[in-house]
Symmetry: C2
Subunit: 230 residues, 2 copies
């Protein structure tokens, strides 16, 4: 499947590498291909230069956001929280029309220090904002309730634990579920929360996730939903 | 133990009844004892009149908020979300000084319809507001991540699932953990999230809880935190 990953950071690289190893035709989108490839030093987050990762993953091409958007049947948004809408606008509304747009981003705001707050919550969500700004894209919010290591390899956390989906388009949801299955998520742990408005509920879970990671001292953390008998 | 429960609604009644059956000396606090006892019809939420419950639980006395606050070593706040601070002010700062104040309330705002939003989130929480307004009370935020039926009888949800605690006072936390143990929560599922600021994280989980209840069609729902190996 042709898949585009927006974002050259650790999350985008982990996703793109995993998808490529699964046999997909993967491109990574960036603002300026030449600038991204020209960097040789780690960035402010100590992430090594993209070119190092590129050399280890030569089958993944780096394209501009518009070219990357045009490539994929499925586009993963893995851009740092608040840049998402700007980046998607740069990709072009037309290039994203009809695409399955997987939004796994939590709109984190580090301006008040750590742990980060959400930039907005409660009466809005990033998933909804993206769907509203790109009405012809088929936005699915998912994978935003765990660390990227667990997103692409759920077996890092033992036993049964869940992944949530929210979005308006049933066919897009099926396509995303298939990809989640390829990552290793069993179908029975995928919880469909309904329309894109439910992105609020999973984005607002992020502070509890961060607290749990902190208390448990690991990012290999997830939750299992347990219910009483019928 | 002398325990006070603030709130005459379904949550307060369920807690008070359970605590009384466990052998505690329980009182329920209300704004106006005479008015509460004078009602004979169900309220707007179709909750039967308090007097009916009182007749079935004669060992639980109904007192004014100040008298109830003076009674308990431990005070449970089970007042509908946004009334909490008003009610606690009515109980009196002095009457709450030194008390273990268990806050299990989610600050729900139904003014935008259902599902409710949080009245505030992200940069504030009800738990923090209460601790700030009553600096001499020992506020513990807990039990706010599940339906009251599960709070007082966790075996309604099978297997291992968690309850969270946040608060500044270590001794108060131990007292609350003992009460949770009496409700049926095993010690190993109690997750201490640290200081009262962590109340934000569990209050913000509420929208996901409501979505899960809706999708699963039951209020017997909780989450189990799963982590990877060391």
């Amino acid at each position: 499947m042709e898949i585009s990953v927006f974002g050259t950071g650790m999350v985008g690289r982990a996703l793109a590498g995993r998808l490529a190893r699964l046999g997909h035709d993967v491109v990574v989108g960036t603002r300026n291909v030449e600038q991204t490839l020209a960097r040789t030093e780690p960035d402010a987050k100590r992430t090594p230069a993209y070119t190092q990762w590129q050399q280890a993953n030569p089958e993944v091409r780096l394209l501009s956001f518009p070219d990357a958007a045009a490539h994929g049947e499925v586009v993963f948004n893995a851009v740092a929280g608040l840049q998402s809408l700007t980046v998607l606008q740069a990709a072009g509304v037309g290039n994203l029309a009809g695409k399955v747009l997987v939004d796994l981003v939590v709109p984190l705001d580090y301006s008040h220090g750590r742990p980060p707050r959400l930039a907005f919550a409660n009466e809005d969500s990033l998933g909804e904002q993206i769907q509203h700004a790109f009405p012809d894209a088929r936005v699915i919010k998912t994978l935003n309730t765990m660390h990227v290591n667990v997103m692409i390899d759920p077996a890092r956390v033992p036993g049964r634990h869940n992944v949530f989906l929210a979005g308006e388009d049933a066919r897009a949801k099926e396509i995303v579920k298939n990809l989640l299955g390829e990552f290793g998520w069993p179908a029975e742990v995928m919880v469909d929360l309904g329309g894109i408005k439910a992105a609020r509920t999973t984005e607002m879970y992020a502070p509890l996730l961060f607290a749990l990671m902190d208390v448990l001292g690991t990012s290999d953390v997830n939750i299992s939903v347990v219910r009483g008998p019928e």
